[in-house]
Symmetry: C2
């Protein structure tokens, strides 16, 4: 990962650790990284998941491409460089949330395999990063067009639109693949819950993560 | 706050709100912004506070200048522009944590009044931003020199060091002023706890924040 710009900084190890926060919350922190075309259903599934987790008393927080660009990443554009820095920062923020013990639902097109790999590599425990490929054919996404973006892209009003002008690189080995042309939102979020149960994220006293 | 770079983004309102998460956690999210010279005691107080809050079953997360520069802000230097962007990003990250319902302890020298004001302005509810001035005379901080940075700065090994080469602009109206030359770490964190109690951050069913 290289050295940060100044060598005159020291890593401060707090007395309170991630495992303490996870014990308090009765869950294990993890990053659910939703990737897929615009209109594939990432946010819809994450919203349903968030609701289900809250009902079970679990803390989930959603990071969303549309939301985060009004704040942290408002200085970035949609060029390849801007997209790369966008994903890098989101990965770093998600890492902080996971360290806080939170289950993060990050919903970003994140079209480039390399950018997603770099986020994965931020986590020393591979169980912390759960890649969820929200899959739907481009035609289906374009028909749904929930924000009217495909229409604008086809009309030339948006440049650099993933799926139209720029490639989407599908994950090669995602943790889960959700086919939203065939599965309902509820079916998809239920599958994620099952995965979280299986890997011990929802067990109050199950297996809190080891601190790095 | 101006417009983000692309107008083709939509603010997504999740079904689950901040108030739902705060109810789950039994607390109100808030940003405790610790500002003061290096060696003034920001991190020591935040660590003690974190421990006390955990003992009361409250979720606190610490953002630290030394820690965050290994991750999110590893691309930034210590020039005035780098410091400004450093604080801007931290403010935006803290805002996300507060929205998640978390009590954030942000420990940063943050020497410029304008940078801190901009962080404050990120929060529509003034109770969300609690400025804590950790005050100690420069001579005291330099004597403590917990990381040996003053020594290096005096020896010319570090440039742009706050208090030596660059100014520290003290807060004009901080929520709390902690004088660490006279008060112990425990006394300081107890005063913060009292403030959090008084403003309803620690009441399980006290007064969850209104969502924006």
């Amino acid at each position: 990962m290289g050295q940060p710009k100044s060598a005159n900084i020291t890593w401060v190890d707090g007395k309170i650790q991630r495992a303490d926060r996870e014990k308090l919350l009765g869950q294990r922190g993890a990053l659910l990284w939703f990737t897929g075309l615009s209109g594939s259903g990432k946010t819809a599934i994450a919203l349903d998941l968030e609701r289900r987790l809250l009902q079970r008393g679990k803390l989930c927080y959603r990071l969303d491409g549309d939301n985060i660009r009004f704040g942290l990443n408002r200085d970035l554009d949609f060029s390849p460089e801007g997209r790369e820095e966008n994903i890098r920062r989101i990965g770093e923020v998600a890492k902080l949330f996971v360290d806080a013990g939170v289950i993060v639902a990050a919903c970003f097109i994140s079209p480039y395999r390399n950018d997603r790999r770099r986020v994965r590599e931020l986590f020393s425990n591979p169980e912390d990063f759960i890649e969820i490929y929200v899959q739907a054919p481009l035609e289906v996404c374009e028909q749904r067009d929930p924000k009217g973006l495909y229409r604008k892209a086809r009309a030339g009003e948006i440049a650099d639109f993933t799926g139209i002008h720029q490639p989407y690189e599908a994950p090669e080995t995602p943790t889960l693949t959700l086919n939203t042309a065939e599965e309902s939102v509820e079916q998809c979020s239920a599958r994620i819950i099952s995965h979280l149960e299986a890997c011990g994220c929802l067990c109050g006293n199950g297996k809190p993560a080891e601190d790095k």
